[in-house]
Amino acid sequence: MEVDKGKGEAEETRKVAEADRDTVTLKSSDGKLFEVSKEAAARLSTVLAGMIAGGSIDDNGTDLKQIGSEALENVVDYCNKHANSIPSAALISSSISFNTAPFKEPEEWERKFVDRLSHDALFDLVEAANFLGMERLLDVTCHKISEMMKGKSPDQIREVFNIKNDYTKEELEEIRQELAWAFYDD
């Protein structure tokens, strides 16, 4: 959601509000502004939590030069949806390190959230989630990408993700022989 900065607002009111505003404003690389729940941002993003705690949040829009408006819109959308959904016990532990916490299956709304994204938007969102230290969003988006790989042959995976094959024919054949059980009739 784009925010129209209220220019007419009195400077006084703004200053008072600044300290205990319950939202923060984020600015995408192409200059668009988005407002997001401060609580959700701090809970879901280690980077934003650090910025909020460190007072480096700019009320006129905190610059996130690495994130385009489309990805940032999705980030903000995710945070707001998250703030509105009742956090299950599973999600509260999202502050545990990415590398050790057991993965929790995406909830229904999270599934829907990533399902509606285009291929490009999904990868942009992974980048953004990674940049902002949003472990849960990273989990959910990575899960979607792994779902896209399941059941596909190596050739099909390469095609979908535009990856160059750097194996020789012989090397591929060797692995196929050794691990024949993993290959369907492709």
């Binding site: 291929h119 490009d120 779902e147 995976i157 390469r158 090397e171 024949a180 290959f183």
Partner: protein, 460 residues
């Protein structure tokens, strides 16, 4: 990398071309980030999906073959039970007669990505056409199957790898150590002491002994007047190269007379402790690291049936052992730490069999089982054996960490698979004397191998 993305985004190229290029760059950025790629691969869940992904590129192979990644993958997606190998043979007789034995693979319900694996094992053991294979399966570990040929007292083993049909290492046939041991071994055997024999075959070319397969050989009986039921010896023949290295225990003295187990079982814990139920109510342990033999008594009050098929051992990770025992109408799982003489047995699971088998067997069956168990001492022996034959619960195989147990009830009932944690039971095979070629004499669980062994590719 980040700056490149940004630069591309602001380049004054036609919008569509820029967007396409940008999209490709972002995908490459995301999948080129090893941490993100690992997370994506981790969530593939099935090992077959992982293996296929490893063939996408060498970077992906490196990510997939990393040992710490594989540990995480396994924790999330443990190897599955693909099916089981059921062997049928006439019971062993004394003196031994070379009898025919047959083995059949029975697949269990599995997800579609394991269809190929099930087909390969089916082709190897059933000829792909519901047939069966000659030989007695005595062990199965990590996709390798140890088959004994020529019945219980057969003189040959073969190691089969059904999941690698085109492997250069075909079925390896191994002659069992000679019944007449060489002089040096004979010197170690006391003439008045019976000696049990076990053969351990580490997989050729694999250093990790945890996957070694083992089978029991002959029991050397003695019939002199000085025969003492409290003493026995254990011989362990370890396959090395094309020969056998013999380890023979000194005579082991037990505080009470011990009976031979007619269906001895062995598990190798952590590639080090070889645990054998050679005699009833005891575990004979051979430490492969030190070459020492020792014995561990079963938990207090646990006394197993003379026919030895009411209990079995299972690995508890790499450092402990489970004893699974059917006591009356209950199945008990006991745990004990290995390598610690002060360790004590602890009962960790109690399964109420009539409850989990509800709907699978008539309730009266359990009344007989219960009566047999509680009145055992009041019955005359003939009567006991007669009834025990019909109303007994036999354990045929136990999964690692005692996760599942293959059981039969009565004499010619079906084979059931008990999921110990979930407390569920399914009937997985109906045996038939006419079609099977003999009574069921052994089951080996066929687990999907782990980890996937990726060939070492030359670095370019």
């Amino acid at each position: 990398m980040e700056t490149e993305t940004k630069r591309l985004r602001t380049l004054p190229t036609p919008a569509a071309a820029a967007a396409a290029e940008n999209a490709a760059v972002v995908v490459a950025l995301v999948l080129g980030n090893i941490d993100i790629l690992r997370e994506i691969l981790l969530l593939l869940d099935a090992p077959s999906h992982l293996v296929r992904a490893a063939l996408v590129s060498k970077d992906w192979l490196r990510a997939a073959a990393d040992p710490s990644f594989l540990r995480r993958f396994r924790a999330r997606s443990p190897p599955r039970l693909l099916g089981f190998l059921a062997s049928f043979a006439s019971p062993p007789t004394n003196p031994p007669v070379e009898g025919a034995a047959f083995t059949r693979f029975v697949p269990l319900p599995h997800p579609p990505e394991l269809d190929v694996a099930a087909r390969l094992v089916d082709a190897a053991f059933n000829g792909g056409a519901g047939g069966q294979t000659k030989g007695l399966v005595v062990g199965c570990r990590n996709g390798r199957v140890l088959v004994k040929h020529g019945g219980y007292y057969g003189k040959r083993y073969s190691v089969r790898t059904p999941l690698r049909p085109s492997s250069a290492v075909g079925p390896t046939t191994v002659a069992r150590p000679s019944v007449v041991p060489p002089q040096r071994v004979r010197d170690l055997m006391e003439p008045d002491v019976r000696c049990a024999q076990l053969e351990l075959l580490p997989y050729p070319g694999v250093d990790d002994r945890r996957d070694a397969l083992s089978g029991f050989g002959d029991l050397t009986n003695c019939s002199t007047d000085r025969y003492d039921e409290r003493i026995m010896q254990q011989a362990v023949y370890l396959r090395q190269g094309s020969g056998w290295i013999a380890h023979v225990s000194p005579p082991m003295h037990f505080p009470v007379p011990v009976d031979d187990n007619q269906e001895p079982y062995s598990v190798l814990v952590g590639g080090r402790w070889l645990c054998m139920t050679t005699v009833l109510d005891w575990i004979v342990v051979f430490d492969l690291d030190t070459g020492d033999f020792s014995s561990v008594m079963f938990p207090n009050g646990v006394s197993v049936a003379p026919h030895g098929d009411d209990h079995m051992l299972a690995r508890a990770g790499d450092t402990g052992i489970y004893l699974v025992h059917v006591k009356g109408v209950e199945l008990h799982v006991w745990f004990r730490e290995m390598g610690n003489y002060a360790a004590v047995w602890e009962r960790v699971q109690t399964v109420d069999l009539p409850r989990v088998f509800r709907g699978h067997v008539y309730r009266g069956f359990w009344n007989y089982v219960y009566a047999l168990d509680s009145n055992m001492l009041n019955w005359d022996l003939m009567e006991y054996f007669d009834r025990a034959w019909c109303y007994r619960v036999r354990i045929h195989a136990v999964g690692d960490d005692a996760e599942f147990v293959f059981l039969t009830l009565g004499c010619h009932g079906g084979v059931f698979l008990l999921d110990v944690k979930r407390r569920t039971v399914q009937k997985v095979l109906q045996t038939s004397l006419e079609n099977d070629g003999g009574p069921l004499c052994g089951i080996s669980a066929f687990m999907m191998p782990w980890p996937p062994v990726f060939p070492a590719l030359e670095q370019t």
